[in-house]
Symmetry: C2
Subunit: 206 residues, 2 copies
DNA sequence: AATGATATTGAACTATAGTTCAGGTTATAT
DNA sequence: ATATAACCTGAACTATAGTTCAATATCATT
């Protein structure tokens, strides 16, 4: 289900194929197609954020102002569309964690990690459902998720090395402990208290 | 959708109606029907425990050794069947909390409450999904749930009065904090650590 | 054993949501 | 301006799961 995310590196190459050289046929998407693709991604992002993985294709198409068929023209399946949307989120997440690795106080890194995830889960239901459960994902997303696990591991290890974080905590505990943030009854106020409790519980007991 | 959960209080009354007195027609279910009803409840309990609210009616019928139609004869809808199963669980839960109210150490009460809920959520997926979310429920179940909330409130208040439990915790926080226990990745070992973290976080910070 | 109320059966109905595709439309190169 | 590949449309198809009901079978009473 590879997508045609191709760019034109050198327009001339496509027009004047040189003998001997292996010419690469590169297709530039039509302007309207590119615009629709953007609209679809935007609508899908909003719908998945609001409704979670249960977001309906018809609803996304309606929001994007296109027919369902257009969704399937750009993305082969619902899963593919979801991943196109989520992959971006996961990459932003990974980039953020990188900045936490240089935090002087390792415990602060843990705090910021959880606060970031909490905010994300509050605003994006699909985000919470994806990092919590282990749905069937394509190669790219799985790889990104694995990379994320490695980064989180580093955040945890740093705080464990200083004795601030419980020594027995593992990466997999994080999404589990934050699962409550994806419940429908969660509010920003409750979230505040929720995080305090979790963070307090994560500190090494005396 | 009231169910015919009627018992025969006085067989004679049904056979020899007395003049003047308003006779109440009571139907005793047939023996095979009673047995099937039991089998269905048993199968439903197991299926809901294993598959959560997504358990399929066909699967339950197969497990019970009856046709789907029989399920609908005894219980009007899937929701009704679910509630017949869950109501029992909730009532057992309520009975258990009662015993915690006489616990000399209020904090121990909180600990046991969470341990009980954890064990329940590990063994019964529908239990976790029901106390966490707020699905559309019938009157009886809603009432039982409300009563449960009252009991949990008492457990919390007692521990707050002694200053052991954080003062800002409310009843609604409990299912949220335990939501992670209903995830598919949860194992008994992880559960142990999970509870330690939550309980530690719930203690009044110094 | 006969009778009739009660219960069971399972194929068919319904609703929902993902997916397809034949035919019409549009952007772009010539 | 025209040709044509790319694109879009939306009704229809498929799969799944809850639900119904007419035909059939069974228990319990006489």
């Amino acid at each position: 289900m590879e997508d045609n995310q191709l760019r034109a590196p050198d327009p001339q190459a496509a027009q004047t194929p040189v003998a001997q050289e292996q010419t690469v046929r590169v297709r530039v998407p039509r302007a309207d197609a590119r615009q629709n693709r953007g609209r679809i991604l935007e609508a899908a992002h909003a719908r998945f954020a609001a409704d979670g993985l249960a977001a309906e294709m018809d609803a996304i198409a309606r929001d994007a102002g296109v027919a369902v068929g257009t969704l399937y023209h750009h993305f082969g399946t619902k899963d593919a569309l979801l991943e196109a949307v989520v992959l971006e989120s996961l990459q932003h997440f990974a980039a953020y964690i990188q900045t936490l690795l240089v935090e002087p106080n390792p415990w602060k890194g843990v705090e910021r990690l959880l606060h970031y995830m909490a905010e994300r889960q509050l605003k994006d239901r699909a985000f919470g459902e994806l990092i919590g459960a282990q749905p069937t994902l394509r190669a790219t997303t799985t790889a990104t998720k694995r990379a994320l696990g490695g980064l989180i591991q580093q955040i945890l290890s740093r705080a464990q090395a200083t004795g601030q974080l419980r020594a027995d905590v593992v990466v997999g505990d994080v999404p589990l402990l934050l699962a409550g943030l994806s419940e429908r009854t969660m509010t920003p106020e409750t979230c505040q208290r929720y995080l305090e409790i979790i963070l307090s519980g994560l500190r090494t007991p005396p």
